[in-house]
Amino acid sequence: MNATPARQLRPDAGADTHTISLNINGKQHELAVEPWTTLLDLLREHLDMTGTKKGCDHGQCGACTVLVNGTRINSCLSLAVMQDGAEVTTIEGLANGDDLHPMQAAFVEQDAFQCGYCTPGQICSAIGMIAEGKAQTRDEIREQMSGNLCRCGAYNNILAAIEQAIPACKGGLRE
């Protein structure tokens, strides 16, 4: 299929690139990527999908969390070439038009953010965590959301939003 090419950013890019196919938010892409490009940089720098955030580039903050085949990962720690054939869901792929995903709606209602920069990662991480099925108590949610830093300190509201959204998210990702 004829999908969007990644923005060619180097004059000699062709020499080193690998072609991978990625399904991003339900859309199939055939992409020529350099071996050193992370999934995060592919999204942000090459596909202009800046909803996924970079807060450290070192796996320390969780701002770059996306769902790969339904599992939450730090996209800054994964090279794009490693994800050939994967299904990637980012913050841009959660809502249905103007109809927010229950986790997004809960974040707005509970005021679970201030600056909003950690928020896409928090939301993707929360959805991934619920799908993992491990977080049963408030303490467990806090523990398992601790890879997602929020410098604004909106943690109590993040917890409240996740608790609110759990019933609507039980089946993992909404179809």
Partner: protein, 735 residues
């Protein structure tokens, strides 16, 4: 009667933030965009002898390497580098010459077609230096400290002899390390170069007009050639009060290459500029046998750089908060070969109040008085520093409501007297205070024939809720549904606004928004009066009501006119009004401040020494809180910051290199979700007609002030150990 003010309204920008559509400074693009990457120095002081850029330049995709040797013309005079939050002194000029003033100083900028190429090429640059000895030890520089160039409240009485002769006294020294803002969004500037040479800059800043002026001055660009547009800021906490070097470098590259440039700092580079200064505070405090303060001596040594004098309001609170007849304050700065410190959330207050409220606790114990009771005995509603009354100070009510919610009456005074199994339980408290300021600000209001109202001002929303609260104010004044009101900010061509900081945005810009809306209403009413036999002819604004796009007479609600009809008749699709709100003269007769009472429970594991802040109640008196959701969130965030300050945050300096060792957010700790437990916020009712027409004092800072002391006091109560060196880590509790 209020439809929106004081209500819990969801953030108007919430949907953009939860869908990833909110664009931050480093996320704007254009077809010809190229990317920069900064090379930082590896020495703290000396000269650059040479920079070898050959290898970097030969990497395919690299467009240029800019250093002090080949940069375009920039201003040399110091005054061209000043800004709205500049410290006194000789401001830092990025890539100006071969001088190195601090470690991790930017020395070169690589510009390439892609981020990855720029970053790789930056690693190939070799810099040779001639190093000079540096100084990075605050204690070693203590004797070289000079008087801080900042106004101080006058001394009172004879503090030294009053202290010497007092029956109950303490003397203690408190230390707090450098802290880094570390907003989740790293500092970034995207400079969009247009063919006519004009620049549109997306800069991470708390003041778009500050950034615009700054680069106009440095590059000698005519007014109007630079427009700074920053609709969203991913946190700042003070780091965006001064323009940072990435703005200068990105602009330099755009002008040199005549191309659009994006430059995002790495997390490591977020440790290469301003921070909360390391501070040593020496306290002597004394009271009589009834627990009334008789002497306060507060002496501070703060860190500054070799080129600027960074001052903050660190000692002033000791002069104002409590009654005390004898007072001596001292504030000195010790220059180190580090970058200049920078205002960071509740600058000064957070440090000064940590020391004051720790000392108050120590003295309460020396006098054997309950720490809360001790503070109540020293309460004053006249500011002793100025002899002016507080415009309002519901602090006693904060103490009462906070203590009741917390259950303070069940506390036993003796340290190590409360426990929960293997956990030692400690209850501590502290007072918080911050100024309630107002600065001149302007706003514009436009009402359109379709019923929409657009209000604007060049302020910022750094997560503080500015979009939401300004929308609420305008909707309230105009009696419109929130959906019909839009507030615009973060664009330097909008009406003038002060920096977004100091908790004065609602007070300053909010007052301007209200005034602009009221001015517009007056214009509409005047227009209504022009009609033949207008029923409005003898009425003033207070005689009419604006509601749902209509104006009606309060005393005769059936007499009404549609705003759209007025506009139609006037033959215009819209009508606009601007206003500038300035602080009232009356404010000069008062001291205006927000206050808080913070109550903390800690649990310290007897075997392992681990410390958990299990509960915190903060009772806040901040006048009227206009927007409840973001407002409460601000206080919660402040409390979380207080936990970080008390127990985790510490810039660790390798003094031999004058370089921050833990320059990443795995090793520079701040609270994660699991560090935060039960936090409770009480907004105490407080009426204040003096502060501004809205009665709102501002709440961005007050949430953090006092928290570190309350935690330190709780740790003492739990363990019997006074840790006077932040952060309080388990090794210090059991050493």
């Amino acid at each position: 009667m209020t439809a929106y003010l004081g209500k819990a309204v969801s953030r108007v920008d919430g949907p953009l933030k939860v869908t990833g559509k909110a664009l931050y400074a480093g996320e704007f693009g254009t077809a010809d965009l190229c990317t920069g990457y900064v090379v930082n120095s590896s020495i703290a002081k000396g000269r650059i002898l040479s920079i070898d850029t050959q290898a970097a330049l030969s990497v395919p995709g690299v467009l240029d390497v800019i250093t002090h040797e080949n940069r375009p013309e920039i201003a040399s005079y110091n005054e061209n580098y000043t800004d709205m939050d500049a410290a006194d002194g000789k401001h830092f000029r990025p890539l100006y010459n071969d001088r190195i003033l601090f470690n991790m100083q930017p020395v070169a900028l690589v510009v390439a077609e892609s981020f990855e190429v720029a970053r790789y090429a930056a690693s190939l640059i070799r810099v040779d230096y001639e190093a000079e000895p540096h100084q990075a030890d605050l204690y070693a520089q203590r004797s070289n400290a000079h008087k801080a160039p900042t106004p101080m409240p006058p001394d009172r009485g004879d503090a030294d002899s009053a202290w010497a002769n007092a029956p109950v006294k303490i003397e203690a020294e408190y230390h707090s390390p450098a802290e880094f803002h570390n907003p989740m969004e790293m500092h970034a500037s995207t400079v969009i170069y247009s063919t006519d040479g004009k620049l549109t800059v997306h800069d991470k800043t708390q003041g778009v007009q500050n950034s615009a002026q700054f680069i106009s001055n440095i590059f000698g660009l005519p007014d109007g050639d630079v427009r700074v547009v920053t609709p969203f800021v991913g946190g700042a906490f003070g780091s965006g009060l001064r323009p940072q070097y990435q703005l200068v470098l990105a602009t330099m590259a755009a002008l040199k290459l005549k191309r659009s440039v994006r430059l995002v700092l790495s997390r490591e580079q977020m440790f290469s500029f301003g921070h909360r200064p390391e501070t040593i505070q020496h306290f002597r405090l004394a009271c009589d046998r009834e627990g009334r303060l008789v002497s306060t001596i507060h002496e501070v040594i703060g860190e500054t750089s070799s080129f600027e004098d960074f001052t903050e309001m660190v000692v002033v609170w000791s002069a104002s908060l409590y009654q005390c007849p004898n007072l001596r304050l001292d504030y000195k700065l010790a220059p180190l070969d580090l970058y200049t410190p920078l205002d960071m959330r509740a600058p000064g207050a957070v440090l000064g109040m940590y020391a004051l409220e720790s000392a108050m606790d120590e003295l309460a114990y020396a006098a054997n008085i309950d720490p809360l009771e001790f503070r109540i005995r020293n309460f004053t509603d006249i500011d002793p520093a100025s002899n002016k009354p507080y415009s309002s100070k519901e602090l006693l009510e904060c103490y009462r409501q906070g203590a009741e919610r917390f259950g303070w009456s069940k506390r036993s005074q003796e340290p190590r007297s409360m426990r929960d199994g293997k956990q030692l339980v400690g209850w501590g408290m502290a007072t918080g205070v911050w100024e309630a300021m107002q600065n001149p600000a302007s706003a514009k209001a436009v009402i359109n024939i379709d019923g929409s109202l657009v209000v604007s001002s060049a302020t910022a929303d750094i997560g503080t809720g500015t979009y939401t609260v300004m929308t609420q104010i305008a909707a309230e004044v105009f009696g419109l549904p929130l959906e019909q009101v839009t507030f615009k900010l973060g664009d330097s061509i909008l009406p003038k606004a002060p920096l977004e900081g100091g908790s004065f945005t609602v007070s300053s810009v909010g007052s301007a928004v209200k005034q602009a809306c009221e001015t517009l209403q007056q214009q509409l009413l005047d227009q209504a009066k022009e009609e033949d036999q207008s029923p409005f002819s003898n009425l003033e604004l207070d005689g009419v009501v604006f509601e749902d796009g209509e104006i009606y007479i309060k005393a005769a609600p059936s007499e009404r006119v549609k705003i759209a009809d007025l506009l139609k008749k006037g033959g215009t699709p819209s009508m606009e009004a601007s206003a500038t709100a300035s602080p009232k003269k009356e404010r000069d007769d008062y001291t205006t401040a927000t206050h808080s009472a913070v109550f903390v429970e800690v649990k310290v594991d007897e075997d392992f020494g681990t410390i958990q802040v299990s509960r915190m109640v903060s009772a806040i008196a901040a006048g009227r809180v206009l927007s409840l959701k973001p407002g409460r969130n601000q206080i919660l965030g402040g409390m979380v910051w207080g936990i970080g300050m008390a127990m985790q945050e510490e810039g660790m300096l390798d003094k031999d290199l004058a370089r921050w060792m833990n320059h990443n957010i795995a090793e520079y700790h701040f609270p994660v979700n699991a560090d935060v437990h039960d936090l409770d916020v009480i907004f105490v009712e407080e009426h204040d007609e003096v502060v501004n027409p809205l009665g709102a004092k501002g709440i961005g800072e007050i949430g953090i002030v006092g928290v570190a002391a309350a935690i330190a006091n709780a740790v003492y109560h739990a363990t019997g150990k006074r840790v006077r060196d932040l952060p309080i880590t388990l090794d210090k509790v059991f050493e």
